[in-house]
Subunit: 394 residues, 2 copies
């Protein structure tokens, strides 16, 4: 078991009435001049943005708007946001949307006081010491960014997708109304479900398997999401099950499921290169990669995968053969992904097999430099990354 | 499902190295003149207090000490602490101990800036608007006060035990080293386990049973504690299982297990009068009351108790008879309490049956006034409180 620090100061305001006090929360956390940051037109059409504008206006809080965040949020917009915040003396960022908007907001928030170019941070060449406060109104449960300390930004020059984490960037508050997720299309709902599960599983597959309470909570979250998924796929306005998924999404990535363990994160990083290269949805990319990763690393610790199979997916335990039990679990997980319309291979993800050049490019980009590795459950070097991409390409 | 706010800003520093940076944490959270508050001699003998004194001295942080906190912490000592803090310009309280010390620290922390007598707050006659910051070094996992917003103080005049909650009083940091719990005697260990489980169960027994993720997490925490309990009773220096209990104790009471539900808390309030009148350990009092409360309220919602029996205690579900399943769960829970040396009735708790006068006095004190009720799962008026005390007295 590892020593750990658990610190999730974000004030979560959850439920049907959660949106009523957005302006009051901004004031509580010291915001007096706000950047309202969002994506496309959905928050406009749903009436959420008009409602927020009205609240801010009534509360006398000046604000400026920056829309246009896209999935795999772009560095160029982050730089534009930073310039706007500096010019206009912004002291608070309100993110309205999903993980892309919140991640973009985080990068703007710590990029604004940072004296060099913000991309340096994502390249590991700098460290922030200040960050504008952020609040969010979550509309897509998936990334868990509303309670996490991290963000992932895509640099269009070279389509590099990189993350940066700092405790300073955790949202001061997160407004979560499950009703706002009713209009998510099934594909996006399924991508979110996959991302939520993967945030839990990246931490779960660890050789530090002596933190029972963390494991038990992780399994509880996974079972709940698996139970809720088919309901919301067919009954998108089911409050009860939309709520399970929304709250599970935050708990999956606020570090609760990693207390005392060490995360793997190879699937995430292998996927980041997929979604950067093919501009596919992150959740779909994770589903496409996970089974191949799982089979590749299974020999490192079959009993861990057997536990996952039994406790999460309800596989009957073959006490004499943990590998067989484990493999059934991987198969059942892939069957679950297919049941919600997710791909379980690269060809299913992008509509064709990746070319030989693309496989090599993916491995090169994921590896970055010869000494770079990914994963903890099994450490992946350049060759192993290529192996997993090839497995997923069949 | 209820709307909820979840806000646990406490920075948890957990593990074997956690104590190394207590002084640094105090500085981080703005402490410059500290009240070091603790109980008896155990923290002295264990070397923890000398270690802390040395850290504070080396860091140049002036401090003053106030020991002597007892279980069911006393109002008189809280008042003494408030006077000391005012006289000496204290701006940070460091609690070293368990829930009693942390609760006493909280009362001192919000009592110091409060302009009237602090007991007013516990009588519901006032509201705080300021609170000194608090950090804690936890040595007894039980009360969950290290991450909670509440505290319970006993007024020696009339032996009234009352609680007060404010978000302002949440600890800024909580240092948790499971090794510090190795020396807890078996009885105190068992009392802590009972308290941890009851914090979860008070929230679990709710008619708001549509927040599946909360229920699943609650069940996961309960199963982990039940699994860990016999290990630490017989192997007190088992780090792995001491750690499960310590972390479960915080999660059980930081509101995670109550998100979207409404707590019952009748067992806690019935118990508060027991421990105030007989000066018994809170955990033991809870074990003595719970089974009687459970049988009394079971008809309100047998399926909830059946779920508890199956999912927490591993009772085989009798799908045709939820009441039978539920009763088996209550019996198994009581058997668990007995297995760790806890009482399951008032006579077992105090060594004799309570007298008729004592039963009436307990009900009177718990009821406070004619219109006062306890509980949500079943609302208890004065008569029902008396009924439950009588059931527990057999």
């Amino acid at each position: 078991m590892r020593d750990f620090v658990f610190h999730t100061p974000t004030e979560v305001v959850f439920g049907k009435e959660a949106e009523e006090k957005i302006a009051a929360r901004i004031t509580k956390y010291g915001g007096s001049r706000v950047l309202l940051h969002y994506g496309g037109q959905s928050a406009e059409r749903s009436g959420l943005l008009p409602k927020i504008r009205q609240q801010l206006t009534e509360a006398g809080i000046p604000f400026t708007e920056l829309g246009g965040v896209v999935p795999n949020p772009r560095l160029s917009l982050v730089r534009e946001g930073i310039a706007r915040c500096r010019e206009e003396g912004i002291d608070f960022i309100l993110a309205v949307g999903g993980g892309s908007v919140i991640d973009s907001s985080k990068a703007i928030a710590f990029g604004t006081p940072y004296e060099h170019d913000v991309w340096e941070l994502f390249e590991g060449k700098g460290k922030v010491s200040a960050c504008l406060p952020i609040g969010c109104v979550l509309t897509i449960p998936a990334a868990g960014s509303e309670m996490s300390d991290g963000c992932v930004i895509t640099n269009e020059q070279g389509w590099l997708k990189r993350g940066y984490s700092t405790q300073l960037s955790r949202c001061r508050f997160a407004i979560m109304n499950p009703e706002r997720t009713y209009t998510l299309p099934p594909y996006q709902t399924a991508c979110g479900i996959t991302d939520i599960m993967m945030h839990t599983m990246e931490r779960y597959f660890s050789h530090e398997d002596d933190m029972n309470v963390t494991d038990a909570i992780a399994e509880a979250i996974l079972r709940t999401v698996i139970d809720a998924a088919p309901v919301v796929m067919h009954d998108p306005t089911n409050y009860r099950y939309r709520a399970q998924i929304m709250w599970a999404g935050s708990l999956a990535h606020n570090d609760l499921t990693g207390c005392g363990t060490v995360g793997d994160w190879a699937t995430h990083h292998l996927e980041h290169e997929l979604s950067a290269l093919f501009d596919v949805a992150h959740g779909a990319g994770l589903a496409a990669m996970w089974g191949s990763w799982a089979r590749y690393v299974l020999p490192e610790n079959p009993s861990r995968f057997a536990r996952f199979a039994v406790n999460v997916l309800g596989v009957e335990n073959d006490f004499t053969d943990p590998v067989a039990t484990a493999l059934k679990g991987i198969e059942r997980m892939e069957a679950f992904y297919r049941s919600i319309g997710m791909p379980t291979s690269i060809p299913e993800l992008i509509g064709r097999p990746a070319t030989e050049e693309e496989i090599l490019l993916l491995a090169d980009k994921c590896c970055r430099q010869d000494t770079h590795t990914e994963g903890h459950f099994k450490v992946l070097y350049r060759k192993e990354m290529e192996d997993v991409y090839r497995l997923a390409n069949r």
